[in-house]
């Protein structure tokens, strides 16, 4: 095949070994496969951390809303809803663009 042969060519016969080009192709495919595996693993780890972070953030917001509701004080955070019975609302958002609306009815 090619002029540069890894193993020795026999007299008048084709070489039994691999050419440099074939070897490089094999190494290339092995490298691609290894990189694909690592990329897949990296993607999976990042997805796991994103889910974990999202849950922790949601719990933080949930706890914040529970504290606001339990405090019984406006504290300037709840905004009254005009035209409704005494009711106020508070919008809490996390870092992922999600927003929660906490409603509190007056007594």
């Amino acid at each position: 095949m090619g002029s540069r042969v890894v193993s020795k060519e026999l007299d008048g016969h084709q070489g039994l070994g691999f050419t440099l080009l074939e070897t490089m192709w094999a190494v290339f495919f092995l490298t691609i496969a290894a990189l694909a595996l690592m990329a897949l693993a990296s993607h999976a780890i990042r997805a796991h951390h994103r889910v974990l972070d999202s849950r922790i953030t949601s719990v933080r917001v949930w706890n914040e809303a529970a504290d606001f509701l339990a405090s019984g004080q406006n504290g300037g955070k709840f905004e009254p809803i005009p035209g409704r019975r005494p009711m106020a609302r508070l919008v809490i958002s996390n870092g992922y663009g999600r927003r929660w609306e906490v409603l509190r009815a007056g007594k």
């Binding site: 290894a34 693993a41 974990l52 922790i56 706890n63 809303a65 504290d67 339990a70």
Partner: protein
């Protein structure tokens, strides 16, 4: 064969090719093995994460209506200690209204952790497992109407090539029992 070069490969070439093949094979197996361990670990962690996501939702369904009781009803609403929570709430009846009994679904519930299972008991029944692989489940009812639940998940199979702390990722969730009143008063006619 005198005068001709021998066909085939020499012993040195064979040994050399075997060594190279062995090195490449071991490297490939090591790579695949590490990837398999990682996939195994991620599967366990994902399972734990799913538990920790489902647990607050289940507890919210049971805890949030707690204490919706009527004047002179024979129940305390919320009680328990760090390892067990008893929730009582007269939220339903045969006609769709509170009937001063705790016989309907979700009206009298006890939650506890036994082993690594979260167990739930309804009314006079026995504790039944609901969620497994719960490493920590503690309740704090000192600041009612806020009920604080600390929870953590665990894995039931060994995590490979990673250090696994006994209780990790502890989360505390606060539930505001909006119907709970410490002192019930007589209803106006």
């Amino acid at each position: 064969m005198p005068g001709n070069r021998a066909k085939g490969v020499s012993l040195v070439e064979t040994l050399l090719s075997m060594v190279i093949f062995l090195i490449v094979f071991v490297a490939a197996v090591g790579l695949v093995d590490r990837f398999q361990s990682l996939a195994w670990n991620l599967s366990l962690l994902q399972e734990k994460e799913a538990n920790m996501s489902a647990l607050p939702l289940l507890l919210a369904r049971w805890i949030l209506p707690a204490g919706n009781n009527r004047f002179q009803s024979n129940c305390v609403g919320v009680s328990g200690n760090s390892g067990r929570l008893d929730i009582q709430s007269d939220i339903d009846g045969p006609l769709g209204f509170p009937d001063n009994t705790l016989k309907q679904s979700y009206e009298s519930i006890s939650v506890r952790r036994n082993g690594s299972d979260m167990q739930v008991k309804s009314d006079q029944g026995t504790f039944q497992p609901v969620l497994k692989n719960v490493g920590l489940l503690q309740f704090r009812v000192q600041e009612l109407p806020v009920i604080e639940v600390s929870m953590a998940g665990e894995v039931d199979r060994p995590i490979l090539l990673m250090r696994s702390p006994p209780v990790a990722d502890q989360t505390s969730v606060k539930f505001y029992a909006w119907s709970f009143r410490k002192n019930l008063f007589a209803e106006a006619p």
